[in-house]
Symmetry: none
Subunit: 140 residues, 2 copies
DNA sequence: TACAATCGCTAACTTTTGCAAGCACATAGG
DNA sequence: CCTATGTGCTTGCAAAAGTTAGCGATTGTA
C-alpha cells in the first residue's frame, strides 16, 4: 500500500519541474531534458513530433511536464533524439542510475530470468558477504 | 507518420500472446514473463499486486496481455520481482536486447577478481542448484 | 455440512493518455 | 495590407490505463 504512495511521489517528481532540486543536474525533469535535447538537435517541436510519430500538442505537454509519456512514446522519443532509451529512462527517474555501477556479478544475477526473486536475493547476499569478508581480512 | 504504425505494431506484439512466435523465447510476451517470475517467487497474483501497489485485476490483465503497463508500473513490478528493470523492458520489446546484454552469471562470477577460488566455486554451485531446482519444479 | 480464506477473473467505473482542431503570435513576401 | 508559413499552446474528445466491487471455484477446518 505504501508502494502506491511511492509511485505517486515518483510521478510527482517526474512531472513537476520545481521538484527537481534534488538533483544537481540542471535538466532534471524528463520534459526539460527532452526539450534541451530537441533544441540541441535544432528541431522544432513539430518536427520532432513528426519524426517520432506523435502529435505536437502532446510533445509540448510532455516537455512542460503536464503528461507522463508511456513506455512506447518514450522509446519513440529516444529513437527520434538518437539517444539511448536507457538514458531517457534514467533521466525520467525510472531506471536506477546506480545499477550501472554495480559489479558485473550482481548485474548478471539481476538480469538472470531463470532465477526466482528469492534466489537472486540469496546469491547477491552471498556475494556481498564474500566481498565483505575479503575486505576485512585483507586489512589485517 | 509510419512511426505511428510501428508503434501500433509494437503494441500489438507486446500485448497479444500468440504473436510471440517470432521470438524463440518460450516466455516471449511481457505478461507471460512476469507470470513466470511471479510463480518462481511463489507469489500469488494478489500478493505481488500488493507488493507493487497495484490492483490485482490489473496485474491479472497485464499477465494475460490485455493491458500494457506504464513505465512506472513496470518499474514497480521490477522492484517487486527483484529483477532489473532493463530486463523487463527488454522482455516488453521496449529496450533493445543488446543494450541490456544478458551476461552470464557464471561468466561474471568467474571473472570477478574480488572473489577467492573457493568463493567462486560456491557461488557457481549455488547458481547451478537453483537452476536445477527451477527446472524440475517447472516441468510439473 | 458449513464457514472462512484464498485463488484468479469479470464488470462497471474513474482517471489519464494521446490526438485533431484551432487559437495567438511572430516573420516574412507579394 | 493581406496571405502564407513558422513557432508553441489551449481545448475538448476517444481510447486506453488502472481501480473498486463482486463473481465462481478451490482449499482447509470446525
Amino acid at each position: 500500500m505504501q508502494q502506491v504512495k511511492r509511485l505517486q511521489e515518483l510521478a510527482f517528481f517526474v512531472s513537476i519541474p520545481h521538484m527537481a532540486q534534488k538533483q544537481p543536474d540542471p535538466y532534471a525533469t524528463l520534459g526539460e531534458f527532452i526539450k534541451r535535447q530537441r533544441e540541441l538537435s535544432q528541431l522544432s517541436l513539430r518536427q520532432l513530433a513528426d519524426i517520432c510519430g506523435i502529435s505536437n500538442p502532446y510533445l509540448s505537454q510532455i516537455e512542460r511536464g503536464l503528461r507522463t509519456p508511456s513506455s512506447m512514446i518514450l522509446q519513440s522519443l529516444a529513437k527520434g533524439l538518437r539517444i539511448s532509451a536507457e538514458t531517457l529512462y534514467t533521466q525520467a527517474g525510472i531506471l536506477d542510475p546506480q545499477e550501472a555501477e554495480e559489479s558485473d556479478v550482481i548485474k548478471a544475477v539481476m538480469h538472470d530470468p531463470d532465477l526466482s526473486a528469492r534466489q537472486r536475493e540469496m546469491m547477491i547476499d552471498m556475494y556481498r558477504s564474500f566481498r565483505q569478508v575479503n575486505e576485512t581480512s585483507s586489512t589485517t
